[in-house]
Amino acid sequence: MGNQQVNGTGGGGTGTGAPSSSSSRRSGGALFTDGGGAQAGASSAMQHPHHPQYQHQQHQQQQHQQQQQGGVGMKPPPGGSAPMGYMQSHAAQYPGMAQQQQGAGVGGGGSMMMRDHSMQDMMSSSDRTTGGAGQYNSSSSNSNNNNSMMGSPPHPSSSSSSVVPLDLAALSAAEEDSVPTVFRWEHGGRNVYITGTFNGWSRQIPMHRSGNDFTYIHNLKRGKHAFKFIVDDEWRFAPDQPTVADIEGRINNFIDVTDFKPYTGDTEFESERHYAVHCSRAAAAEALKNKKKNANNNGGSDSGGGGAVGSATASGSDHDDTSSKGSRKGTDSSTMVDPDGEVYGHSMPDLDEYTKEPPPLPPHLRHIILNKPPQLTDTAALPVPQHVALNHLYCTAIKDNMMVLGITQRYKMKSCTTVYYSPC
């Protein structure tokens, strides 16, 4: 059941699991209790909407995948409701457990960091906003100034370089109201499809492979569009592109092409560019400052930036590190200082740096003793945990406004797992 949901293009899984349905609850209960008719009936009785424990198991698998993606794996938009999987984090590292957990999903994978850093080496001031919607936080939206620096007209909404409205004159011949837009997937996979509001989520359009990346060009209507990728049958959003959570908390990527201005000539472009350069000057200065400040921190940034289990806050600081590191590297090779003292460059990061998968979840963290079937004779007894699992916080998806946290701690030679039920 869990598997279905995970791989499943999203729809089925828990969506069908009407909270009180006996069968779905049963599956959850069974994992703990090894079944028994009375017990199953028991669980479904009284239409108790949902028991969180149930989700531990059911989403366990999903969780792993999420972790591997380095993001909050979301259910896809059309149909299906995906509660957040069961996430893990290093509680010791992030004391403010619950909130950090959610951050973890956002901070996401190494690739995101890398991505940022590649753009950040000039900008440095990232206006990464983590807009939280429900339990999910939206991913960051990057600095807007990239495009101008890269020679395309600045565009307030095409914040990530991965989704760049085309400004070719040839394409501007298209309908006045449509904005030719390149969608880009840079996170691997063999078969990548895209779908979104631009086609009413009706069809999964295959994307074109180019190197490790996949692209697709579509004439978008002016306005905001949500979209999502299907990578090898798995719904994913690009963590390096702007995201938005829908009502049910699923995360999609989105793009706003309301204010798109086609490229009309050098004069306008130059003025725009000048403005953009002006804006980014302060940011560049700050980048230099950061570089000095973090010069001796760079050692730590490697490990910090790549963790699949990150947190929003942690990634914030890591981010600075990596960006400054990249900045320094840039200085070595191909940066220039213009008459105004502005530093910028055009070095391309290695493709590998932002196309590789984030590191996988350490395998030992997958052994969640709370999810192990209990002993019939003593349900309060759990398997003896591995020491590496101690002090890690586990949580279930929020259901019925109730969150369940679990943490295993040691006292002398014995360990105690506390399962804490709290409202949220």
């Binding site: 703990f32 004779t377 019925d400």
Partner: protein, 378 residues
């Protein structure tokens, strides 16, 4: 373990390790004291051995190598809390029937919630005729601080079970949560269980606000039995002779055609956790009904149904009980002639919460609970 070694070393009656001071005066230690005296000495030796064992062992020693504690925030709805308990498998073992309650505002534990509390709350709704559907939205704090519920069904030690919200001096507020340190002796834990007439005692980490486990008489007994199984000679008196358990007129029984509500009320009145169920005509034992039996709840389709299930009779309910798993609350019988040693062995095998003492015709003559067994040594 080391203790056990000492004992066997001591061996005979005159052996040096017996608490001479205590018993010498009573029976005259010595092999010449005659049959009765010798037996008494052996009996006291066994008792003394266990007493000092309890004194030297800490609560830590009865903790599981890896255990689970369910803690409820007092703000969560009591109904969800109940289901959480069920999911954690309270149906089979008594250990998980109690969950410490955490008050996030006061940042402290304020009490313990058990399955029987929930049943009591349902009884209250039945007695007062209130709309039970409102229960779904009530938080634990709300319900357990409800004066009406407290005074009718939970009045047995409400302050200990749940520290109500009155703002008193900060000092004794914390003490309202009855618990024991992990490093405290088992002896102390048993006395607390006994003196406070409670069934569950949370074990706290001394330095931290953490509950490591809740211990019960059954936990303690298990620890005793595993350490003293081999000491046969010390415990070959019959439980009846030792005065362990309740016999004769004092035994409270329920009849198979009584309704659940009547039985629960009886249990509440007598402060019992379970009652033997007998057939009105034959007087034969038919089973045991335990307060913590939640079959009637889990068979219900909603809270209202659960309350109306209180009017079912015991024979209907007991037919619905699970038979595929042996619970500590299942029917286990013994005879008055069984020795303490036998009971220990039997416990090691079945982990019962109580034994029903029956005669040759399967009529109830007594009840021996885990609590009785532990209390004997206190």
């Amino acid at each position: 373990m080391s203790h056990q070694m000492n004992l066997s070393g001591g061996g005979g009656i005159g052996g040096g390790i017996i608490g001479m001071g205590t018993f010498a005066g009573q029976q005259g230690v010595g092999s010449s004291s005659g049959m009765m005296g010798e037996r008494e000495v052996v009996r006291n030796t066994g008792k003394q051995a266990i007493m000092s064992f309890l004194e030297t062992q800490t609560c830590y020693s009865v903790l599981r190598a890896s255990g689970k504690v369910v803690v409820f925030d007092t703000r969560i709805p009591i109904q969800l809390a109940f289901y959480a308990l069920v999911e954690h498998g309270v149906v089979w073992t008594s250990d998980m029937q109690a969950a410490p309650l955490w008050d996030p505002k006061r940042c402290q534990f304020v009490g313990i919630l058990t399955v029987t509390d929930f049943i009591d709350v349902l009884r209250y709704y039945r007695e007062t005729g209130s709309d039970v559907l409102t229960l779904a939205s009530r938080s634990i704090a709300d319900v357990l601080a409800d004066e009406g519920i407290l005074s009718t069904v939970l009045k047995k030690n409400p302050p200990r079970r749940y520290a109500s919200k009155e703002v008193g001096s900060g000092a004794d507020q914390h003490s309202s949560f009855l618990s024991v340190d992990a490093d405290a002796s088992l002896d102390r834990a048993c006395l607390l269980l006994h003196d406070q007439t409670i069934d569950f005692l949370p074990v706290m980490l001394p330095s931290d606000m953490r509950v490591l486990a809740t211990i019960t008489y059954t936990c303690v007994l298990e620890h005793l039995v595993s350490n003293f199984r081999e000491q046969r000679r010390l415990f070959d008196d019959t439980i009846y002779d030792l005065g362990i358990g309740t016999y004769g007129e004092d035994v409270v029984v329920a009849y198979i055609h009584q309704t659940l509500h009547e039985v629960l009320h009886t249990l509440h009145l007598h402060g019992l956790s379970a009652v033997p169920v007998i057939d009105e005509n034959t007087k034969k034992i038919m089973g045991v009904y335990s307060r913590s039996d939640i079959t009637f709840l889990t068979k219900a389709s909603d809270a209202e149904d659960a309350v109306s299930n209180l009017d079912l009779t015991l024979d209907v309910l007991m037919a619905q009980q699970r038979t595929d798993v042996t619970t500590p609350d299942a029917l286990h019988t013994c005879s008055v002639r069984h020795t303490l040693q036998y009971v220990f062995e039997y416990f090691a095998q079945w982990k019962f919460n109580r034994l029903i003492c029956v005669d040759e015709e399967e009529r109830v003559v007594g009840v021996v609970s885990a609590r009785d067994l532990v209390a004997y040594f206190l």
